[in-house]
Subunit: 68 residues, 12 copies
């Protein structure tokens, strides 16, 4: 059978940067998912507190191979 | 680690209203998911029978916090 | 021949609710169309008068089976 | 000069229904804006608390005529 | 309770055709999911090797009924 | 007068392939429409039964010339 | 019953301008449709011949009131 | 501080042409806004009366520099 | 071999009108491209100077046949 | 009354990074707006000078609570 | 330097199938482009003649690696 | 003749950041293109290896002036 992949959608957060938010999303997903191959950013948002960006919230679709 | 959220996509149905359809989706998701925080409506459809709306079908993305 | 469906786009209106606007659209379409099966909401707008929502305008695509 | 309209984007909230959320948005906008003519729903979201929809959040673009 | 459905996103692949790629996605999903009802194609891509299409990659959302 | 075209939206179905579904849509439309010139695929979906693709459902917009 | 509107999609063409193409679409639709109220431009394309724009092709959705 | 711009959304109207509608939007905005730099057309609609285009309605986002 | 076409994306500009901007884009492309067949408008923007539209910027995808 | 929020669209710029551009947008908006709660990135562009990225231009919608 | 890829947009045609149309696009592109890696289907259209699909027209973006 | 611009689509990659990926895309394009003026980010993806983001892949449309 040819490979089949599943995509899940995860939102990572970070006080520091968009990249860090994506890294968090991938790191957390790694706790339960194996064979992750790629991600696609689908949304970039964030929280504002005290007139400053308090949190970056980046949503990614993560694609991973399903075991045969 | 900053919070990470997962989004799943669920379609609720109701013979009565769009709100009821969303409520059904959230209630059913609650049977297996904890820490639900928000939803986003992504699609509104429905079934027609005997020339009348027989069922509202509202799809929502539900965001919930992943445990650390 | 497998079934073939046609979709038409209709805007229903109501002073009361979004559901009522869709019901109006379906009821009116039923005067000339048979075998309606489903609808898809494509746009939600409305009129404002005297600082209040005066009319809900909901556009739906209605799918119906074409007779063989 | 032909009429010119401005559109602003407002998010109304309600514990009860989507229509109520839009009504709230329009009512609040009426405190500072005159000559409102129409609205367009651009986003439907909400908050979930205790496994139930706690708040409907409906974003509308509101169009109003600019005085000459 | 009215029916509730969940949608998951799966990418099937095939060296032969788009239909085969979708079939692969559905067949693989069937190993762990019951009550699948419909699919929606959301993306069609592919790999090119030696100046030829080497693999069709079709992503589908698969809707399935959740047990009560 | 320059040519004017109308577009209608039709969903063809087939147990076999996407192309066959489009062919069905065009063949059925031909029973009542003349001067068809082009089509645009707007949606690809399908039904799943017994863990297999049971039906391809392809929606096309069909453009045809209006007689003067 | 509140008003109900139908939208049809028509492509007008003109060698001269986009406005003329829309005018053509509306004029042709007027031969068979009554109570037209508004239009929405959904696509602007055209044909090129001899390195020049030979034809503007503007597609509009035309909304018209359905008689009670 | 680097430059910051604000975008507002304005709908201009004209009985004559799309360009004139945009000109009206910009001219009206100029009564209250300074430092306008660019516009982006986001929607083209219009009103039909007596089977003819009676009014072009073009919505633009207008970007202008905020003073430091 | 069936015909194959390539699409390129070009932004034409004009102080006068949208049509003129497209004409400029096509005329310039003609200096290096042969067999142009059609265009699709993908974006309409412009520059504002002294509170007036100073330049129309219309982006088109231009399709042209590739020689065998 | 339930809370009502307004969204404005602001483009921040920075020679350094996307995050910095968003920070600039929020900082500038803070000069005239209170109760900012969240932002949504809607567009990422930039200027190129001397074959290098000279400026990041990130557009955000900023949501803020309206006072009762 | 990390790899950089260019995407071009090509429309392949075929009297037979969508896959064949994509194959044609890739085969023709191979005459002038090296290092093609992937494609993304962006549009599916076709021509109708004598009430039948006469030609499938599938547009793909083709990604290829740029030489260092 | 008014200025005419061409847009090309390029994907830059970087192990480090999104900004770096865009810089790579612009730097590589500079080897063959002159008069680059602006870019627009159209897609953000990436590769995952060993449960970590291994590569940022940012696609930009680059606009450059065509010589007269």
């Amino acid at each position: 059978m040819d490979n089949v992949y599943k995509k899940i959608e995860v939102t990572g957060t970070s006080a520091k940067s968009m990249e860090e938010a994506v890294n968090q999303a991938v790191a957390r997903a790694a706790q339960t998912i194996r064979h992750m191959r790629w991600f696609e950013v689908t949304e970039i948002r964030g929280a504002i507190e005290d007139n400053q960006v308090a949190q970056w919230q980046v949503t990614v679709k993560i694609g991973f191979a399903l075991d045969d």
